[in-house]
Subunit: 88 residues, 5 copies
């Protein structure tokens, strides 16, 4: 999973029907030092994250697991809100 910050929301009207009623957020991957790294990803939200929060997201089909038995065609999903991380 990757550390990221929620930086925005994605508005879309025409989309696959399995994505109806799903929240799509724009997340920016972060380094351990909280610097932006790489380009933003559109992730489906499974935990009620909001803009400005630090989260971690999972890639691949696993991103759809929280919505089982629905199987939305997603490859990135926010599965946890990070309180903090500690490095030595």
């Amino acid at each position: 999973m990757q550390l990221a910050r929620v930086i925005g929301t994605v508005v879309t009207t025409r989309k696959d029907e399995q994505l109806e009623s799903r929240t799509l957020l724009l997340v920016q991957p972060l380094t351990a030092g909280r610097e932006p790294a790489g380009r933003p990803i559109v992730a489906v939200d499974a935990v009620g994250a909001g803009v400005g929060e630090d989260v971690f997201f999972v890639r691949g089909k696993e991103a759809s697991f929280p919505f089982y038995p629905s199987e939305p065609p997603v490859d990135a999903g926010i599965v946890g809100i990070v309180d903090r991380w500690d490095t030595d």
Copy 2:
């Protein structure tokens, strides 16, 4: 999923039979600032996207979900047309 712009079409006559009648588009991944990032991808279209439109696409086997029970051998698929995205 990744933000991208549809920049072209791909014409192919010899292909896997499961790809017959599928629309293959060339999409350019974008940064949050709408700049091109990385190289273009060939994506199957599940939502009727057209050249010039901003979309988001999914990677992996998930790209084939909108065509179920058909299982075309695809690893990238357009699953939504983006009206806009907002970043703070």
Copy 3:
């Protein structure tokens, strides 16, 4: 999927038995401007491609779909020969 050019063949005698009788080609990913990008990939051929042809290939388990019910351990497969692509 990615655009690529077939640049060579791979000769291998000791290999997983599910790969026996499969054609393995070396493909060079391309940019939309037909420039080489990134390092070559070994891809299994599902459409009869030859050296010098432009193709697109799929990554992941999907690369094995054209050989069903056989399930060769492959993660890249040529699924179409590209006549041309048009960008605006």
Copy 4:
């Protein structure tokens, strides 16, 4: 799989319920020469690794296999602690 060093822990209270009671560690991928390479990853721990230990981790759905029949939505998991690696 990738070589990595465990560099920290991730504290998270709101998360997908399948992640409850799982240990999430921050791991830094390494080169063969033990230099950091790329950005840290959040990995679920399947072997009791601790901060400072060298490990290897697996990516993708495979990261959930050690927890079967539970299927936590994870895409990176520590599956071995490395005593040493030898290169010629």
Copy 5:
């Protein structure tokens, strides 16, 4: 799949039980010109490869196919030893 050279072995005592008795090798991805490219990967060996040999490896769950019905949590596996590759 990717071309690579076997550059070392990985010694690990504490690991997921499905990895017991599996050979783990350190492989260095190569360019078509046989130059090292990117960082080494830990791969499970399915074909009896040795240090110094050129191989190709598969990524993802496919890496576990040669061990079926065992399903070791691996994401990279050597599936062929390369005699040579020819590019035009």
